[in-house]
Symmetry: C2
Subunit: 398 residues, 2 copies
């Protein structure tokens, strides 16, 4: 009785393998999660206390609320976007259950069986899981050091694709970012073909080099028209505050937001009222100081991992040097299958990572792997990379 | 570029009309929300304080968690179901963002364009909004005093329908319940045709007459097999604790749960971790005493509304006498269109209610209306019914 769309859902074998990665003896670079020791627990304690001691705000925070999301939270997000050069109003913003729900809702709005969607090679697995429920046709575009290869993007649009999902800042899984020139080129080509760009900005605030390039949303020319625009941006507090509140947002032209609000109403009514209120209070109270704390901590971990990779990895392994985010991307010698390597790493080296193949829409990338430096402590990061490097040297020489 | 499924979403004219219902001068029977003065705010204050003062539990509650939902919360729900006669394991339970997300996910699992789904006449509007995104064919079944008319249900199954959405306890919008005999008859006929029943149990705990009939889930014969069953039940804490946590659940045979977990993962990863933890602690701490507080309060409001209806309404108006839930259903004289009546009521009588037509899959029921007794205080309930009755008498005599 299960319909075809739902049959597109399949359990991940890798996920099953990685169930052991939580064990303390395993050094895990597999997670896509932030470091919980950086959660501002004391601030949350004070915010929950203030809120639940306030009869009016407390009861209001426990009641149903509108599907759009709390106006004050949407205003905070609009102000924050404006401060980064993207002038939008609260009517352009919908609160979602994490950025993941935004991806799912946009897939339900824009995709249908066979419709083409352009994705980076590699791309964020969670996005492709959301898209796949609509059974689209993926068009993969290769990346060079500056961003997606423009000739491939144009070829995709030329052949009829009109939707592209792109992550210009510290991408999950590679950590790569687009140059300013490539951002402008992407927008120009999208406008030429009337294509929509879904911009994933989940990691944008986690910049470690002091350089923040304008988002595609900020570069999109809307001339102040709330109904205009080529770019739909997805944002989240999961990486900058905490994931568990499940607060993300979509920033889009109004006609898109109006449809998504109706979809939200029909799909889960609204995002948790109290979580929205708490996220707003936390953002007001903690930003930007807390972001600096996160940047300092993750920058240190990234530096440790890069130093260890430089020290221990054989020259046959190349890796990205991300300026933000949580991930480093390994390209292993061609003869190494990273899925097999993972089994050996879990068993022999007690190290976990995510094999890269799942991030490729065309299932290439068998010799690639994603490493997260976010959760382990620096001494374990160094140890883990050393162990992994030893394993790779051994496997490669077999 | 918007796909056909998403074009099925339309804004509600009634919802726009009812935007004025929040004004203090309007006595509103329109809301479908619980009374916020009954929220256990002090208990929530203590629970949040305990949780965020606990380094381990606090940080864990702010992190990502598994798509299935917290095992301890699922165990609490399984134990609670068992205490009402439905023996299920935590593997039969998925936590959802309110019961609404359960409806949406089941629609995505089971419905596709043109596939038939049986609904009560009238039925819960929110469910039909979720179903309609899959563009099914509705088969409406009339209700008598004991539940759905069995001959009509059988005729629907006979013609090929295999899914029925039913609310046997204190239904939204009518407040009606099924008798035990009718519950058994519904199950028998569903089993005969191999049909799946989606049982909405949102209001089951709000019983005011001391009589609690077994749910369809409890009556379903699974012989302890976690993979077996005809009934999928949807539950929620929205009416018994608070709506804003957005904690609902689906209880279903394991093959269904396994699919839904993958869908949850792809659609919004999981329900807010901290909200699940808080709901669990609140349920452990407050139940069943808090349920008695709710029942006493809502029973009083229901009695007030029924007394006022008896005192003020003309004999040409009939209404339900619910033994639980939040709603009373009016059937007006045939010549009264409740949508027009609402406009007059908002303007002249300063009373709000929901016209009944939207609850009928076949858009009949123009002379019906839903009244909620949940949120207004008793003196305003009495005043509001008097004003509405006066208006109806005036309109009817025109």
């Amino acid at each position: 009785m299960i319909v075809r769309d739902a049959r597109a859902l399949t359990a991940s074998e890798i996920r099953d393998l990685l169930k052991v990665a939580d064990r303390p003896e395993i050094i895990s670079f597999a997670g896509g999660v932030p470091d919980p020791s950086l959660f501002p627990l004391d601030a949350f304690n004070a915010i929950y206390a203030d809120l639940t001691l306030d009869e009016t705000a407390g009861r209001r925070s426990l009641q149903y609320s509108i599907s759009e999301g709390l106006p004050a939270l949407r205003q905070w997000i609009a102000d924050d976007l404006a401060s980064s050069g993207a002038t939008r109003s609260i009517d352009n913003i919908l609160i979602t259950c994490g950025a993941q729900q935004g991806l799912d809702m946009l897939a339900r709005l824009l995709l249908e069986p066979g419709r083409e969607i352009v994705v980076e090679k590699p791309s964020y697995l969670g996005a492709m899981q959301a898209f796949s429920m609509r059974r689209p046709t993926y068009v993969g575009v290769n990346m060079d050091g500056d961003g997606p290869v423009i000739a491939e993007l144009e070829a995709a649009f030329e052949r009829g694709a009109r939707i592209a999902y792109l992550a210009p800042d510290f991408q999950n899984p590679t950590g790569r970012s687009y140059t300013l020139e490539r951002r402008l080129a992407v927008l120009e080509i999208a406008r030429k073909y009337g294509a929509v760009i879904l911009e994933d900005a989940a990691y944008s605030k986690l910049s470690y080099a002091g350089v923040v390039l304008p988002s595609l949303l900020a570069l999109d020319e809307t001339n102040g028209d709330p109904n205009a625009g080529t770019v739909i941006q997805l944002g989240t507090f999961s990486k900058t505050l905490v994931p568990a509140l499940r607060i993300g947002w979509v920033c889009a032209p109004r006609p898109v937001i109006e449809r998504l609000v109706l979809m939200q109403q029909a799909s889960d009514l609204h995002v948790s009222t109290i979580n929205q209120e708490v996220a707003l209070r936390a953002a007001r109270k903690l930003f930007p100081a807390h972001l600096d704390i996160l940047r300092d901590a993750y920058r240190g971990k990234r530096d440790t991992m890069l130093a260890a990779l430089g020290e221990f990895m054989p020259d046959t392994v190349s890796y990205t040097r991300p300026e933000g985010g949580m991930f480093i991307w390994l390209t292993l010698p061609e003869n190494i299958d990273s899925r097999q390597l993972l089994e050996q790493a879990l068993r022999d080296a007690k190290v976990a990572f995510v094999p890269g193949q799942a991030f490729f829409c065309d299932h290439t990338g068998r010799n690639t792997a994603r490493l997260s430096f976010a959760t382990e402590k620096t001494d374990r990061i160094r140890d883990g990379i050393e162990r992994l490097a030893l394993l790779i040297r051994r496997v490669h020489n077999q």
